[in-house]
């Protein structure tokens, strides 16, 4: 992974993590706070409203009880029940009910008096009289009640007092004057729509909490549910819901166990709401709720904001890391580039880092270092040039003068003189070769050898060497030299100077370590792409345990040292380097004391 990516990921991770943690924490606390506040508001509200409802019910009960204690009503009822009353009495009673009772309570829609069989014997509306309470009516079979006791029915829908109404009935016993015998019941009917008003806050005493909730919230509502689970106040979501919809939400169900719920639940509309419920002593449930989504709208908005914030942070993070990449990574990449150049031998590589920090220092150090390396490199080249010149100059003199003398151009030579001068010339050649080897090694070591391949006729090279350089030595040692050229040998793709040095070294060795009157055979093998040159001698060979070291620098095999033949141990090392530089291979076979055969494998020229 690049530094840039690493940095970007780190930044993003840290930033996102920080924002997430902070955000989550803040979100959680805020949500908790808001929840607390909403629930407390709702609880307060429901408590207040419960009070209002109960107060109202109490008032109705008190009224009904009060009516039922009325002497006139009791007397008349008794008369009617005993059959002592006529139509006039009934009418009187009705009027009394209407004028003196019904008028007292706005919420009442009618009052009737029923006998013990459930038949209406007097009422505030004529239509009721004579009707019998239906089987399922609460007042069909009333159990004996005490004097002053009131029983409240549940909210019912039906035809009452000449109209389709929603009513809540309250019944109280009509005792005789003595207080021993119940003659009948006074049943007062309330307009149950009153509960809508209660729930919608018309009669609310604490306007504070409710109005603020109502004002703030669109989904807020408060309603009553009766003991059977039916809604008895209007819903803002469903029309005509009263007594038609069974409410089975948690708070209502929990009131069966007298547990008052505050919290989150699924409302009758199916939405997720937050609300509070009061369990009324008469078995009703009062619920105040609003949609969770709305209640926590702000929090949710904050959540979204945090999401956007994270994106912004990420965007910023990438921008920032890009800037950092530029500042940090680009100089580093530049440095890497220049280092690669240096690796390939280019000493002119310099970096340009101007970041005013450690990288700039590094860059400057690098530049100094490269300059120094360049200088050293220069010095090496110079040294080799100088060494070449200084070592070769006297050798050139020796060679040329030696040749002039040997050729007889400086005077006629005696046999002995000729012999001696020839030997001297031979030594000169060996010394020249040695110097060349030294210089080659220096160049190879400092990486200065250039390899310029071209098609070379290897046979020509060998012939030139043997005829011009090694002819004397071969004669002196009476070597039997054979060059096997029955087949035409292809041109090889090599550097002419290098191959000359290689062959020269191997032939030299073949002569040096050979015995008197020994043999040297040079032969060739070819396949499709390669040419092999095999130089075989009958010399001292290479001992088995020293074969692995034979190409090492300055290594001379023990038998070579013992033989008294001169040498520094550079020849084969240089040869191997040069052969490999030309893309070839060198190998050998040898038996200690019997000779060696060196094989050079070279690439054929395509020409």
């Amino acid at each position: 992974m690049t530094i840039g990516k690493k940095l970007f990921l780190s930044f993003s991770f840290i930033a996102t993590f920080a924002v997430l943690v902070t955000g989550l924490f803040t979100f959680q606390s805020a949500k908790e706070g808001i929840t607390k506040r909403i629930l407390s508001d709702l609880t307060l509200l429901t408590e207040t409203q419960e009070g209002a409802v109960l107060m109202f019910l109490d008032r109705i009960a008190a009224r009904t009880s009060d009516f039922a204690s009325d002497g006139f009503i009791r007397d008349k009822t008794q008369e009617i029940v005993l059959g002592e009353a006529d139509a006039v009495v009934i009418k009187e009673l009705n009027q009394h009910l209407i004028k003196n009772k019904l008028s007292l309570e706005n919420a009442m829609v009618g009052i009737k008096i029923i006998d013990l069989e459930g038949k209406t014997i007097a009422a505030t509306a004529d239509s009721e009289i004579g009707q019998t309470e239906p089987e399922d009516s609460a007042f069909h079979n009333l159990l004996p009640m005490d004097y002053g006791e009131v029983v409240l029915d549940t909210v019912r829908r039906g035809e009452y007092f000449g109209d389709a109404r929603l009513v809540l009935a309250a019944a109280a016993p009509l005792y005789d004057r003595v207080g021993e015998h119940i003659n009948g019941y006074l049943v007062a009917y309330l307009n149950a729509n009153i509960f809508n008003d209660l729930m919608s806050g018309v009669y609310s005493e604490d306007l504070g909490a409710q109005s603020s909730l109502r004002g703030r919230s669109e989904s807020f509502e408060m309603y009553l549910v009766d003991t059977d689970g039916y809604m008895i106040s209007a819903s803002r979501y469903i029309d005509d819901v009263v007594l038609n919809k069974l409410i089975t939400i948690q708070p209502v169900l929990q009131c069966a166990f007298d547990i008052e719920t505050t919290g989150f639940f699924e409302s009758y509309t199916g939405k997720q709401n937050v609300g509070a419920a009061m369990c009324l002593p008469n078995g009703w449930t009062l619920v105040a709720e609003l949609q969770e989504q709305e209640a926590f709208a702000e929090i949710n908005k904050t959540q979204k904001q945090i999401g956007i914030l994270i994106l912004i942070v990420l965007a910023f993070g990438s921008l920032l890391s890009m800037v950092v990449v530029r500042k940090l990574v680009f100089p580093i990449r530049n440095l890497i580039e220049k280092t690669k150049l240096l690796e390939s031998g280019d000493f002119s590589a310099r970096t340009k880092i101007e970041t005013n920090d450690e990288l700039e220092t590094l860059g400057n150090s690098f530049n100094s270092m490269v300059e120094r390396l360049g200088e050293l490199n220069e010095m090496k080249t110079e040294f080799i040039s100088i060494a070449s010149h200084q070592l070769r100059a006297p050798l050139a003199t020796m060679k040329w003068y030696g040749q002039i003398v040997a050729d007889g151009d400086a005077g006629v030579l005696t046999e002995t003189q000729k012999e001696y001068i020839d030997r001297m010339n031979s030594s000169t050649e060996r010394l020249i070769t040695l110097v060349n080897d030294f210089l080659s090694i220096s160049r190879i070591d400092s990486g200065k050898i250039q390899f310029n391949p071209e098609p070379v006729n290897i046979i020509d090279v060998i012939n030139t060497l043997v005829d011009n350089v090694f002819n004397i030595q071969i004669q002196d040692k009476q070597i039997q030299y054979t060059l096997n050229t029955e087949k035409k040998v292809a041109l090889v793709n090599v550097d002419p100077a290098l191959i000359r040095e290689v062959c020269s070294a191997l032939i030299q060795n073949a002569i040096k370590y050979n015995r008197e009157k020994g043999k040297i055979t040079i032969s060739f093998e070819e396949d499709e792409k390669l040419t092999k040159i095999i130089i075989q001698d009958t010399g001292i060979g290479i001992p088995d345990d020293e074969k692995s070291k034979i190409f090492s620098k300055f290594f001379r095999a023990s038998n070579a040292v013992q033989s008294g033949v001169g040498g520094v141990g550079l020849g084969l090392h240089a040869v191997k380097q040069m052969v490999e530089l030309m893309g070839g291979k060198i190998g050998f076979e040898s038996t200690d004391g019997q000779g060696a055969a060196f094989t050079i494998t070279l690439k054929k020229s395509d020409v």
Partner: protein, 126 residues
């Protein structure tokens, strides 16, 4: 100036070598002038024309490279051909001399006097 003899300018600071080479060349029928360094060679070139220059590289006062540069600058196309005869054998040196327009770069220790004469003959004839 004899018209039938070719004139060779030999630029070499090593007197042992230059004397041997000069006498060998004269034996072959050439006229040889010797300069011991680049400066003398420049003067010699100004003074008279030569068929070929045989040039050493490492010399005091002005070396072979500098001389070649001067030659190209002063004479350009009209400069006589040059063969470098030096101890320097590195590729970088050979490339340099070839870039400066020499006909051949010969390493002293690799050749015999005979071979040098053959090379000269190849360029200017006998």
């Amino acid at each position: 100036m004899s018209l039938d003899k070719k004139h060779i300018l030999l630029v070499e600071d090593d007197t042992m070598l230059s004397s041997l080479l000069a006498s060998s060349l004269e034996k072959e029928g050439y006229e040889v002038a010797v300069a011991n360094n680049g400066e003398e060679a420049v003067s010699a070139i100004e003074a008279k024309g030569f068929s070929i220059i045989v040039l050493d590289l490492i010399m005091p006062k002005m070396d072979g490279f500098e001389f070649l540069e001067a030659l190209v600058k002063n004479k350009g196309e009209n400069a006589p051909p040059a063969i470098v005869l030096s101890n320097l054998a590195q590729d970088v040196d050979v490339s340099k001399t070839e870039a400066l327009g020499v006909v051949k770069h010969i390493v002293k220790t690799e050749v015999s006097i005979k071979q040098i004469i053959e090379e000269i003959q190849a360029v200017i004839g006998s």
